[in-house]
Amino acid sequence: MTSTQLEATDNVALVELVDRLLAKGVVVYGDVTIAVADIDLIQVGLRALLSSVETLEREP
């Protein structure tokens, strides 16, 4: 695997992780605090998704 492909794979895995941990999973209503303050990560997630699509595009 080339480093570019490896990076794309890592990016996809991160996006998949973000999707699952922040938007899915059991929601327990107690005194629940989900940190939504970290906008940066969500933006990283979006960038990773776009870059992974673009990186995949460049593959033969």
Partner: protein, 213 residues
């Protein structure tokens, strides 16, 4: 202030180790770790750390993963929740037993929406129709063969920046290799598709009462 950080719901007895604790009630357990209350940044490192704990639970048996950063006041509050929703959790836990989640992210880079500036009513309708056809194509070509291997599935279709499918599939553990092989075969067979299959993940997408078999 102290709090408890919930990782997931498991069978009783809970497979706890390395600083994890559990509240147990009937046949269920809620696995948690003591934590500081307040906000914690959702960094990449923190997300993978959460994932690592849930994966360890998954090695021991079925788990309903909690959403990231689920904090409760104390173990008693967790026990109340467990008691209040035990039937729901029991059903959901049995549903995911011996099953794992696989992620599929597919993109058709060539299939992009047409320019949308000054779109007329008829152009809007034409675009909607074309998006619907694209979704049907993605579902038919890619999703249906994968869904036939899976026990349950959930997909979203995106149209921009290009046609894309984001899917989660709940698969029997011993069907994981077959699912991956089918995904690879489809990636080869379907023209212009770029596809990534990730997992196995804990069943984040299949924890709720909205899940249908």
């Amino acid at each position: 202030m102290s709090a408890v950080y919930l990782y997931g719901i498991t069978d009783r007895p809970a497979p706890v180790s390395d600083g994890l604790r559990a509240v147990e009630l009937d046949s269920l357990a809620a696995v948690y770790a003591p934590a500081a209350s307040g906000e914690q940044a959702a960094t990449e490192e923190a997300l993978w750390a959460h994932e690592a704990v849930v994966e360890r639970l998954l090695e021991a048996g079925p788990v309903l993963p909690a959403r990231f950063r689920t904090l409760l006041d104390d173990p008693a509050q967790l026990e109340d929740e467990l008691g209040r929703r035990k039937q729901e959790f029991r059903t959901a836990l049995d549903f995911v037993r011996d099953r794992v989640e696989l992620g599929v992210r597919a993109a058709w880079p060539e299939r992009r929406p047409a320019a949308r500036s000054d779109e007329s009513g008829s152009a809007y309708l034409a675009r909607k129709l074309s998006e619907r056809q694209a979704a049907a194509l993605a579902a038919g070509e890619l999703h249906e063969p994968l869904a036939s291997i899976a026990v349950s599935s959930a997909i979203e279709i995106e149209h921009a920046p290009c046609l894309a499918l984001v899917g989660s599939y709940l698969v029997e553990r011993d069907e994981v290799d077959a699912f991956r092989a089918e995904a690879e075969r489809l990636a080869e067979e379907i023209q212009d598709v770029h596809l990534a299959c990730t997992g196995p993940w804990p069943p984040y997408t299949f924890t709720g009462s909205s899940v249908t078999a």
